[in-house]
Amino acid sequence: MKVSLFITCLSDIFYGDVGKDTVELLEKLGCDIDFPEAQTCCGQPAYNSGYVSDARKSMKHMIEVFEHADYVVTPSGSCATMFTEYPNVFKGDPKWEDRAIALADKTYELTQFIVHVLQTEDVGAAYHAKATYHTSCHMSRLLNEREAPLKLLEQVEGLELVSLPNAHDCCGFGGTFSVKMPEISEQMVAEKAKHVDEANADILIGADCGCLMNIGGRISRENKPVKVMHIASILNRQG
Amino acid sequence: MAGKIMNKKHFLNHVAGQLGRERIMDTVERPEWKHQPQWNVLKDASQDELVDILKEQCKSIHTEVLETNKEQLSSTIQDMIKDNGGGQVVTWDDPRFQDFQVNLETQEDLNIHVWDPRLGDENIRITEQANLGITFSDITLAESGTVVLFSDAGKGRSVSLLPSTYIAIIPKNTIVPRMTQAAEMIEEKVANGEQVASCVNFISGPSNSADIEMNLIVGVHGPIKATYIIVDD
């Protein structure tokens, strides 16, 4: 099965390991990876800030970049959500609407792809630790994917999952929100870090680099020992 | 006498204009809604099951429930009045008291006032001082533990509102699953050319408030206590 990887800016620039783990994991599961080099960003930072015409430029570019793909897979619930929003952005646009729909229809967040398309829940991973999981907002509420990551994590050998208090709460990242409303964002991430602390886990797992960067940054600032990891890195750990 | 309608044309023309069209002058057919989950709630419950659901719900709305039959109703009510300290009692002027052979006025040890339109505001003065108010339920909603009261000349709004304790007599056959059925009955009446009562009250237990630190306080402006008496008819 040929899978076109959409790596996302954060993973490309800051979290290369997440990308590597994603590639290796998908290959292990029998996928042929295609990485269209012309890819850039899904446009979300501009779109969510109201710069819709600027965002459209990158969206059109991304539609073209992935036009040839059978499946587009990305290690980010938030960026996958943005792709699935494209049809709304280009609604009524004769040139772009159908192409936007085509892209949205073949886009999957990584765990979603493994569980729903590859129909696999046990990827043969092992990781010995006590972990808690952060349900990122866009993935759970907008992409409506709540089960897939947990199904996969439950099968990881040695991984003990404990619940995160107030898991439904946003971590306060919100893209440009974190720099536009820093005082409020700070309170939100501090509250999230407190709940992570209360979960008493060794690691915090998430499926979105944005949230992990935010929560991880706070945990690092507070000098807490909790390790923050992307789910791809857990699932790629050999048993 | 019909009331006046003021400033309508200008207002509604403007509204229609904002919607980018002319005013709608024909009848709008309300569509059949695609989703109608309300009819599925307690759809298959028997009358006895509805009674159980009603009783269960009353536990969470701080409402005491007594069950009795037609023969016992009169004495049940009298006991209730005495248990609640007696004092002034106000009831609706409702033929159902006769139908259920409840004759409170003849009891010498009770202080009963029957709502009487001829007395005008005196009714309100007495009711405001009353310890207990007693009415029948016109429709009863099992799901929410609600008695539905239609106002009328003998059926003052204040009887279920002003006294400290409110007692509702619920004939078992008035119990329906939920508000859906009550709304439908009202719509049917209207479709048959009847007028809807000037005041329809859906009452679920005593008055309450959570306005102070989210603490539930039972008994604010309306009754502090509510009791339902279900009568097997």
Binding site: V52, S58, M181 | N7, L19, A183, V196, V200, F202, I212
Partner: protein
């Protein structure tokens, strides 16, 4: 009071909210209770998504045909002896109402909770003509006695106050001498307000839903005060936002079921009171005279725009009760009687961007509001539409942001530019990196690093690794 509350700037209001420890604790625990209540109620009911779909269907149809339903409503109210006044502006509404009060020579007015009356500043208008207005909802009464402190929540207006503060208000203003136990405070209110109800010449209410096909106003309450003000005074005035209309009792019933569950997790509130016209000829209690005032006050501007669904709102506050931003800053920080996500959407529409331009940004777009809304208003998307308007139509975005977003547009539409930009990132950031992280950022990173560390860019971008790997493989 009007819709806008307070004169401070948004940042100052936020700071004030953030530093109010009691308020934040109160809001946080209230949110937990509201949220659990709503979720339990929805689960108990079953098929909640179907209910939401139905709610959305009813509201969409009603708003699309709102002129028809308002026309029908007014005819039916008039048939039952009520007067109907259509007010395009707050001023028109207030003028009409004050004229009724003057004509009746009314001295005392008992009022049950009504957000739209706050919005149009009705109490001030009544005070100006010398009428005494008593708010009778417990929360509103507390606020009124505390020198008209504005509400901070649309369902529980005094949420920001604790029992000691309430006791103090009662003590200082009303001579209360008992403890701060909620039961004692409420009993005091019961006794005091009972006199007011009996004394009042006019009752004023809001309106949760108005049934068009019978001309019926429905009030959803728990305390019983709305029943008092519609049973005892001879004259009743009901003020409704024009979008509160529902076609039939069947529809009203569904909306009430959604409202009580979404707002407080109750199957129904203690009192749902449905009032049609004036009292019947032989009725003793109930109003002899009834006026329905239907208020536009900026709502019609929203019709026919991408924001129309904001008018579907049934004022349950479910979005407020799940909003993490509201939790931390509280209601007053929004500078509007409509706080939280729906407030951030509605306030700029009704009051303009000028005074409220920060509100659409007071959200991390986490979507909790959209998920909670019982009539499926896409709240977080409407916030993005506001941002779009501010940026692209009003051109009111900050210069730095504007430049960076233009650069973003260029950089992400062109692989070459993206390549250069992302390659440069490590070099640009290098001076700030210490122990693998950036703890003291400059520029846009400065505010980020006040609260948390920022990761140092990887030594190698993913794409460089991937390319190298491919080369090695071949």
């Amino acid at each position: 009071m009007s819709m806008k509350i307070g004169a401070e700037k948004f940042d100052e209001r936020v700071q004030e909210g953030l530093s109010d420890t009691f308020m934040r604790g109160a809001v946080s625990s209230a949110q937990t209770r509201f949220r659990n209540g709503r979720l339990n109620a929805a689960e108990e009911l079953g098929g909640w998504e179907e209910w939401r779909n139905l709610g959305e269907e009813i509201r969409t149809h009603t708003l699309e045909n709102i002129d028809y339903y308002l026309d029908l409503l007014s005819e039916k109210v008039a048939e039952r002896g009520g007067h109907v006044y259509f007010a395009q502006t707050a001023e028109e509404a207030n003028n009409y109402i004050t004229n009724v009060v003057k004509k009746k020579e009314a001295k005392k007015i008992a009022k049950s909770k009504s957000m739209v009356s706050e919005e149009i500043g009705l109490n001030d208008a009544l005070k100006d003509i010398g009428a005494e207005v008593v708010e009778t909802d417990l929360g509103e009464w507390i606020l009124q006695n505390d020198d008209v402190d504005p509400p901070s929540h649309i369902v529980t207006p005094a949420l920001h106050k604790n029992r000691e503060q309430i006791r103090e208000v009662f003590h200082d203003k009303l001579g209360y001498s008992k403890t701060d136990k909620p039961e004692e405070l409420a009993l005091f209110a019961r006794e005091k307000l009972r006199e007011e109800f009996l004394d009042a010449d006019i009752g004023i209410t809001g309106c949760n839903f108005a049934v068009a096909d019978t001309g019926t106003v429905t009030l959803v309450t728990n305390e019983g005060n709305a029943r008092m003000v519609t049973s005892l005074p001879d004259t009743q005035i009901t003020v409704m936002g024009m979008e509160r209309v529902a076609p039939t009792w069947n529809d009203m019933e569904v909306l009430v079921s959604l409202l009580t569950r979404a707002a407080v997790g109750q199957k129904l509130t203690s009192y749902i009171t449905s009032l049609t016209g004036v009292k019947e000829e032989d009725d003793v209690d109930g109003p002899e005279e009834f006026h329905l005032v239907i208020v536009d006050n900026g709502r019609s501007k929203i019709l026919g725009t991408e924001f129309q669904s904001a008018l579907h709102c049934i004022r349950c506050a479910a979005c407020i009760n799940v909003c993490p931003v509201y939790r931390h800053i509280g209601g007053h920080a929004y500078g509007s009687i409509y706080p939280g996500p729906i407030g951030a959407v509605l306030t700029p529409l009704l009051g303009g961007y000028e005074d409220h331009k920060e509100l659409p940004y007071a959200s991390s777009l986490c979507g909790a509001c959209t998920e909670a809304c019982p009539v499926k208003i896409p709240l977080h998307e409407l916030l993005i539409r506001h941002r779009e308007k501010i940026v692209e139509e009003k051109g009111e975005a900050p210069v730095f942001e504007n430049i960076s977003m233009k650069a973003f547009g260029m950089g992400t539409a062109s692989p070459t530019m993206y390549n250069i930009g992302t390659k440069l990132a490590p070099k640009v950031m290098k001076p700030m990196v210490k122990d693998e992280v950036i703890s003291k950022g400059v520029g846009p990173l400065k505010s980020w690093t006040t609260a948390r560390d920022f990761p140092a860019p990887g030594k190698q971008r993913f794409r460089d690794w991937y390319k190298k790997r491919q080369r090695e493989e071949s």
